[in-house]
Symmetry: C2
Subunit: 391 residues, 2 copies
């Protein structure tokens, strides 16, 4: 008997009610019945993105939305600045070059972050860039970026700012309108607690105006077509009906919990995993600027992270992610986002301790668990006090 406990930074665990909603009777996407779901979700997605702009829903993974974003705001031959501090930051550059954009890439160590100093330098080096592309949370490194500060610099320089919130949105604060972000996008299989298959993208008025100034290179994921269809509360092409039924349930659950509460939950679980790792003397790759999506724990030379992930998955049903590219064997990534409660986070830590012991490290079992229990319990007690005070 082996269960699956997903502590990967996407796909995350899917609530039973969300899973079941995918088995609802099929309905046609050009009907009032579907339109009612569309309209309801559209309103809820605005709340999630904290924007008054439409949130377009694409069939595809987050990468589809990244490509659509570049297509929308950078015309062929135009310059764009992209931050590359990990596999997903790197993707901005690949997409930009593929779409014929002139990419100015700011590349830095995975342990580093997209700071204001780097952006200011990039703007000096590439003053003609029309837009700046970054990650809210770089999934490959667990590094969280100071998006609010980057946005301020972009505003002063008159540049659009595009934020990949694929793993970050709904795990970390990212109020689109308040921070003046021009594009924010995310995927379905992370904080939204859905299976993979949908991507979400919202554009500021400025971004929409920029988009109107040039033609699309993409056909299917042309945001011009999607935006026009959204005006009629429908999609340009066939809708992902079953995923949409699931989206509707997931959004109900998320808004009932409250966006701020979800972000708080991920932060506290992040604190717990960080404290557990530190209790055992592990270093964290994202120590300079930890995001709250996942914690990347650096392995000593003797332990290969990819073997750890493979072992825990294969023998125990515990899903951690190893690193990617150069970090494949150097970090074990433990997720703390989506449909994951405090007690599951403790389970993840207990399993991690046992894995480290299995791989030959001198680990005192329970030590990290204790550190985590203290943080998580304090939070549970605090929640209870608040809830009692609210009556």
């Amino acid at each position: 008997m082996q269960k699956s406990h997903l502590f990967t930074p996407g796909p995350t665990m899917v609530p039973g009610d969300v899973a079941l909603a995918g088995a609802k009777d099929m309905i046609h996407h050009r009907t009032d019945q579907f339109k009612a779901i569309y309209v309801k979700c559209a309103g809820q997605l605005k709340q999630l993105f904290e924007t008054s702009q439409p949130v377009l829903v694409l069939l595809g993974s987050g990468t589809a939305a990244m490509e659509a974003a570049v297509d929308a705001v950078v015309a062929p031959g135009e310059k764009m600045i992209s931050f590359n501090g990990g596999k997903f930051g790197e993707r901005w550059g690949k997409i930009g070059r593929n779409l014929g954009c002139d990419v100015h890439e700011v590349k830095y160590e995975w342990s580093d972050f997209a700071g204001v100093d780097k952006l200011e330098q990039a703007l000096k080096d590439c003053p003609d860039a029309v837009a700046v592309f970054c990650q809210l949370n770089e999934t490959a490194s667990g590094v969280g970026n100071p998006v609010k500060d980057l946005a301020e610099v972009c505003h002063k320089a008159g540049k659009l700012i595009v934020v990949d919130g694929i793993s970050g949105l709904s795990a970390m604060k990212c109020p689109m309108d308040e921070w003046g972000l021009d594009i924010v996008l995310t995927g379905s299989q992370k904080g939204l607690m859905l299976p993979p298959g949908l991507a979400f993208i919202a554009m500021s008025e400025k971004a929409q105006q920029k988009m109107a100034g040039h033609g699309a290179r993409l056909f299917y994921n042309d945001l011009r077509a999607q935006l026009k269809a959204d005006g009629k509360s429908t999609h340009a092409w066939t809708s992902g009906v079953s995923l949409y039924q699931q989206l509707s349930v997931a959004l109900d659950m998320m808004l009932e919990e409250g966006i701020d509460n979800i972000i708080h939950r991920c932060h506290v679980q992040g604190d717990a995993v960080r404290a557990a790792a530190k209790a055992h003397g592990f270093e964290l790759l994202n120590a300079a600027s930890p995001g709250d999506v996942l914690t990347p724990i650096l392995m000593p030379e003797s332990v290969k992270a990819s073997e750890v992930a493979k072992y825990c998955r294969g023998h125990w049903g515990i899903y951690f992610a190893a690193g990617q590219d150069d970090y494949k064997d150097k970090i074990v990534r433990i997720g703390h986002l989506g449909y994951q409660d405090h007690f599951e986070t403790i389970m993840a830590i207990a399993a991690f301790e046992m894995a480290m012991k299995h791989f030959g490290l001198d680990i005192e079992l329970g030590k990290g668990v204790k550190a985590a229990q203290e943080i998580l319990m304090a939070d549970l007690e605090e929640q209870e006090r608040k809830s009692a005070a609210a009556g």
Copy 2:
């Protein structure tokens, strides 16, 4: 956001594949289609009960099978011996008296067990009893009884032995034919990983012969009718079709894991919970004869078990059972049966520690977790060695 983690001794957690099987297309119960499922499950149930006799499937909870058992082997006015060391042992007496049997009840403390000495005394006091009724595991106390030894005494005395394996079967060893048990019964919502609604009961040839000697008081759960229908691979009345579809999947899963492996898993998890409780200095109600279904942890005066269970359920989504009757506030029962893996058992222990701290005890968090991790990890490593050796 609050999940439900069930550590109650039934209902236990239901695997997703089992849950989904309950949503299969409805089929009629008097068809070859249903008969094929019936026949498949009939063979698998014999493996589960370790018997060559038919295992009858009733629509009802375990209590329905208990009543059917008494109806089957004790005629009105006949004498029966029943062990009462808990709420479910007590039930044998209630059922017997309701069916007009002359009940000789062996009542003892919940911390005690149904020992051979008690049975020998009862047989002296009530030599005319036709059958002896006991529990494999008393769910109210977590006490496991030495059923094999009791059966030997019954064989020598020429008495039938009837075993309530509602919580015990498939968590503890109970090979029906090998031990010469005359009736063994269980329910669906415990080790079988199903929702409540089905009960299972098997009779030895001796028990079947005894049943043939008197008429039934029950109509619906008359085992004579059920046994006759089973000869035609059908039920006497309408079958519980959706639960049966789920049963079919659950049995596949159980036999794939292997009955002995399941029993071993419950035992190791029991050891882990016992070790965790002892690490914190708690006493166990079932210390004299611990069953492997659940662990009943005695609370100090200052802590009310029913409040603990209510709190953990309401605030944390962690389901423990408090005690019943006089033990309502005295024990917290932590289950370790059914669809529960080692890592969930660690979660249960971590939550229990946090609950004890919440209720004011001076608890060192992580201490019980550590004790459990050591036991569970040793077992995981042992499993891996075996599996590697088996190629």
